[in-house]
Symmetry: C2
Subunit: 156 residues, 2 copies
């Protein structure tokens, strides 16, 4: 019942922000102990930011509000199954649980690349549509070695 | 040769920003026609933003500078193989090509979750460490139907 209310809010944000041309039809809400901590909606085209998906916007807002980079005891309600970028962000933010309404297949049918990107992720870098190539650098061997030994490092 | 210069800059950012406690040892540079458009480094712990990985920071800065959400003719030089979040962002930003120095396995050995998240992505939502559950909502059926028919939509 409470879950439906939060998902209803995410869906309402998706509908209303799409209608006012903020971006695609996507919304997200982050909740802790029943309290809404932050909301987000797609702002890619209105803010010139390809990373401004609803989930990313909501995670950044929640972290700003709570003064932390971990949302361990928070759940996210998102109007659509997260794309790999947003799913990755959900892991880095250490969210507890994720609820989604529409699926990646429905997103693909509406013209979004989510399913395509899911298919690209497991490929070897050089086989992807955006090809990746390894280019080692001695400073990066040094950087990881220093990080491992760094006494005052803050893990995340 | 030019590639080495750009990767050297990404590596230098990784080293220097880690030493000044901005975050983890990661840097990225975005280049168009040989010109550096934007730079980024990991700022997760210094900015309380779990999405502030070097690649995301560089992509957002490049888009802001160019006033667009697509970086079609740009390449990214990143000091480490991108995590799924950053790889997703590279697709949404439509970058042309990606160069990386260290690998996800080296990142894992240095204590970062990149490889773990790569392993989680292909699992069914309900089987993941951060479990996902489907919770349909009628407004979201409506939202996608409206988007498909929307005459003034801006695709991204």
């Amino acid at each position: 019942m409470t879950d439906d209310i939060h998902m209803g809010r995410a869906a309402k944000l998706a509908l209303e922000m799409m209608r006012s041309n903020k971006g695609g039809p996507f919304g997200a809400v982050i909740v802790r102990n029943g309290e809404v901590i932050a909301e987000g909606w797609n702002e890619v085209t209105s803010s010139n930011d390809p990373t401004a998906h609803a989930e990313i916007v909501a995670i950044r807002a929640a972290c700003k509000r709570l003064g932390t980079w971990v949302l361990t005891d928070c759940d996210i309600y998102t109007s659509c199954e997260p794309c790999p970028m947003c799913l990755g962000a959900i892991y880095w933010a250490r969210l507890r649980r994720m609820y989604y309404a529409n699926t990646r297949e429905e997103a693909a049918a509406a013209g979004f690349d989510d399913a395509f990107i899911y298919d690209e992720i497991p490929l070897k870098p050089e086989a992807r549509k955006i090809p990746g190539a390894k280019l080692s650098h001695p400073d990066m061997q040094r950087a990881f070695e220093e990080w491992i030994k760094k006494p005052d490092k803050i893990r995340y």
